[in-house]
């Protein structure tokens, strides 16, 4: 007796047990038996995509001229900041992914107020420190700056010999609006540095109890700031958010140690607001929304229920068809199909694959393809039986002859999946991506179950049931 099918059967049973364990749990925790520390602690609940649970998906793009290249560092920092910002808004489970070269995909599951989120994300944009010379611009004035036009900040890094270190570096701001000369031709101001140079921003109280904003700079910007403030004492360094002036403090003295304060007649509220803008407004690149999709939560729930129901119906129909047409092998193929479904679900949970509606459709489609592999084999099996081979010979021949067509045809499907994935990835089209990923996984798993599981089941059953004399069981 050939032992190999039994070894395979044991392996398959282990796989089934493992798959069942994963499929039925939401959290896996494995403790080290010696010190009770957790070795593995993983959330394996099914992740539903936005189209199924409702929410907002947006595609953000660097708002720079098309010929400007956006560095991936800048894009990553912007992603990080936007993520922090949306977490600060109280939106949980935000997913933000960089889609090079100049986009970020942001997903906000389950939110009911997409307008508010988008507005707040758009509101806080690019923070610039702008050299306006001696001109004190009113808050709210929209200006033009040279940032982004030449691709990067080109700071005036002129060393200044008259620079003298002062113990207390202070820049005072006149928060109250002062008179501004009438606008003439549009002036393009020079951007000294952007908000990325800021390290910490806090609201403090000065000696006389007035509110002020203390800030420190990152070490790589200290020298630049020291040089600039040293050479521009008594001039204005305007704080500009999204090309709109929010404050026009003047430089009282050079700031050489990278730490300074902005003073003025701030109320606590005004000081806090400015601090928040400084802290969270420091995107390295300006960002605009180029695409947004909102799905209401009710639609998503309905879709899940409906497609699950449809999937179950489809599954039952396949079972009936396979049993009627292919009899005993058909029944075994159905068992293999159940193994297939459990294994795929396990992989979806482990990878993890975010399930979207087309993803579910892709999965159901892959069930169809899994059946196809079985059908190819069974048709071959029948042929070999008709040609007068013994059952075991027929099984092995059926498999080896069906294999090239299964391999080649499924590989072609995998190629299409790969191209779809590439297409979906470029646009954050998570629907297309989800479909290709589930279909590709399904195809791979179906290859495995058709080749090893169905075959093992057949061998084992034939060994034990002595049914060689019942050709009708094979639908002959």
């Amino acid at each position: 007796m050939n032992r190999r099918p039994y070894v395979m059967l044991a392996l398959i049973l282990v796989l089934i047990a493992f798959a069942l364990w994963i499929d039925l749990s939401n959290q896996i925790t494995i403790l080290n038996p010696f010190n009770q520390k957790s070795l593995i602690d993983r959330n394996v609940s099914i992740r539903l995509g936005l189209d199924l649970r409702g929410g907002l998906q947006t595609l953000l793009e660097a708002d720079l001229p098309a010929e400007t290249t956006v560095s991936s560092d800048d894009l990553n920092i912007a992603r990080q900041i936007l993520e922090n910002r949306s977490n600060a808004l109280g939106v949980s489970e935000v997913v933000m992914q960089v889609a090079p070269p100049r986009r970020i995909v942001a997903e906000f599951p389950g939110i009911s107020n997409p307008e508010d989120v988008v507005t707040s994300l758009q509101k806080t944009g690019l923070l610039e420190f702008v050299d306006t010379g001696t001109e004190r611009l009113n808050p709210g004035t929209v200006i033009q700056t040279d940032f982004g036009t030449d691709g990067a900040v080109s700071p005036t890094n002129t060393p200044d010999s008259t620079l003298t270190p002062t113990a207390e570096a202070t820049a005072t701001s006149d928060a109250a609006p002062t008179e501004v000369p009438a606008q003439t031709a549009p002036v393009i101001y020079h951007t000294v540095m952007t908000g990325t140079a800021l390290d910490t921003v806090t609201v403090t109280q000065g000696a006389t109890g007035q509110y002020q904003i203390a800030f420190t700079l990152k070490s790589d910007s200290k020298q630049l700031f020291a040089d600039f403030t040293g050479s521009h004492v008594n001039q204005i360094l305007a704080i500009v958010l999204d090309k709109t002036v929010i404050s026009s403090p003047s430089i009282d003295s050079a700031i050489t140690d990278g730490a300074g304060v902005i003073t003025g007649s701030f109320t606590l509220e005004a000081a806090n607001s400015l601090a928040i803008q400084l802290r969270y407004g420091s995107l390295p690149i300006p960002i605009k929304v180029v695409e947004s999709r909102t799905v209401g939560p009710t639609l998503g729930q309905e879709s899940v229920q409906k497609s699950l129901f449809a999937g179950i119906i489809g599954f039952i129909v396949i079972i009936i068809f396979m049993m009627l047409y292919y009899r005993l092998p058909g029944a075994l193929a159905v068992l293999a199909l159940i193994v297939y479904t459990m294994t795929s679900l396990m992989l979806f949970k482990l990878v993890p694959v975010v399930l979207t509606l087309p993803g579910i459709a892709g999965f159901i489609l892959s069930i169809g393809m899994a059946v196809d592999a079985n059908i190819l084999i069974f048709e071959r099996l029948k042929e070999e039986l008709r040609a007068g081979r013994t059952l075991h010979q027929a099984i092995d021949l059926g498999w080896s002859r069906a294999w090239p067509s299964i391999r080649d045809s499924n590989f072609a499907t995998l190629i299409t999946c790969g191209i779809l994935f590439w297409f979906g990835n470029a646009f954050g089209a998570s629907l297309v991506k989800g479909f290709s990923l589930t279909l590709a996984l399904g195809v791979l798993v179906s290859l495995f179950t058709a080749i090893s599981v169905t075959r093992t089941f057949l061998h084992v059953v034939l060994d034990n049931l002595k049914i060689t004399e019942h050709p009708r069981w094979f639908g002959l």
Binding site: E115, V290, S292, K306, F315, A361, V371, S405, S409, F427
Partner: protein, 311 residues
């Protein structure tokens, strides 16, 4: 069963299906969704069950339209019995809130926003370009793969080409169907349509390969018989499998179409049409093309002799 003998009849049936689609494409064009053109799509459900009329909604859009950001003349379509799908140019979020509030006020009952999608024109254009690239790339990759997989057979490139022709057949059937459905039911080709199309491509090639594989195998066993007989024999041998596979896939798709809800109906119907066409083309187009090529039958097409079909 002699499929090869009647090959020109089957080619004719394909043309009968494809030509109306091509005419529809020329006259009505492929109705591209906002995924490819840019714009805004708002789907609203009226909780009372009775939606506003198209004129009322159009009026609200006109009221919120400004010369700088025109959203007048939206395309409004019913979605089931209680919902509307409204397509317009891109609007601001504030405008959208305004519109939803106005609709709610005019209707006098609560409304639910099912979907709200906005795509900028630039992104839409890029997606469209890239989608065309994806289809071309898929075709090329498959051609290369088949030529490689059949490298042991004489004229391996013919198999790849025949599979691509059958694939183009299915693409034309699906795109033509979409154009007709777009005209009569207001369907729009979105990125899900593209997903369905690429799946159909994969399926079509999948089917063709199964038939070709049999030809590849049989050509090693039967050296004496004519190529025509060999191809026909291979088609008939794989017929059971082709039909059964198609049946199971179509049954699952049918279940999805009937019970899967309106969100994926469009997607599933396109797949149904494409899978059916894919099986047809692999049996009745892809393999017969090999015979046409082997016999260089096009030489006879332009001669007077009506011998080809009767052969």
């Amino acid at each position: 069963m002699n499929i090869i003998k009647n090959r020109y009849i089957y080619f004719g049936i394909s043309l009968l299906v494809i030509i109306p689609g091509i005419i529809a494409l020329i006259i009505w064009q492929l109705p591209l969704g906002i995924d490819f053109t840019g714009g805004s799509l708002l789907e609203i459900r009226f909780d009372t069950g009775t939606p506003l009329s198209s004129e009322q909604v159009a009026g609200i859009y006109a009221d919120n339209s400004t010369p700088g950001a025109s959203i007048a003349d939206p395309i409004i379509q019913p979605l089931g019995t209680d919902s509307l799908s409204i397509r317009s140019k891109v609007m601001t979020d504030a405008t959208k809130s305004e519109i939803v509030t106005s609709i709610q006020e005019l209707q006098g009952g609560a409304v639910t926003v099912l979907h709200f999608t906005q795509v900028s024109a630039a992104v839409g254009k890029e997606v469209a370009t890239r989608a065309a690239g994806a289809v071309a790339l898929a075709a090329l990759a498959i051609l290369i793969y088949i030529s490689y997989a059949f490298r042991g057979v004489q004229h391996a490139i013919r198999y790849g080409t025949a599979a691509i022709i059958a694939m183009l057949h299915d693409v034309l059937v699906v795109v033509g169907f979409e154009a007709i459905a777009g005209h009569f039911w207001g369907w729009e080709a979105d990125s899900l349509f593209l997903t369905a199309l690429l799946t159909v491509i994969g399926f079509s090639v999948h089917d063709s390969i199964v038939v070709f594989d049999r030809i590849r195998e049989n050509s090693n066993h039967y050296k004496k018989i004519s190529y025509k007989t060999l191809v026909n024999h291979s088609i008939v041998q794989t017929l059971d499998r082709s039909i059964n596979t198609q049946l199971t896939v179509m049954l699952t798709l049918l279940a999805l179409a009937l019970f899967g809800g309106s969100t994926i109906l469009h997607f599933v119907v396109i797949l149904l049409v494409g899978v059916f066409s894919g099986t047809y083309s692999s049996i009745f187009n892809a393999a017969p093309i090999l015979v046409v090529w082997e016999n260089k039958e096009w030489l006879a097409w332009f001669k007077r002799k009506p011998s080809v079909a009767a052969e």
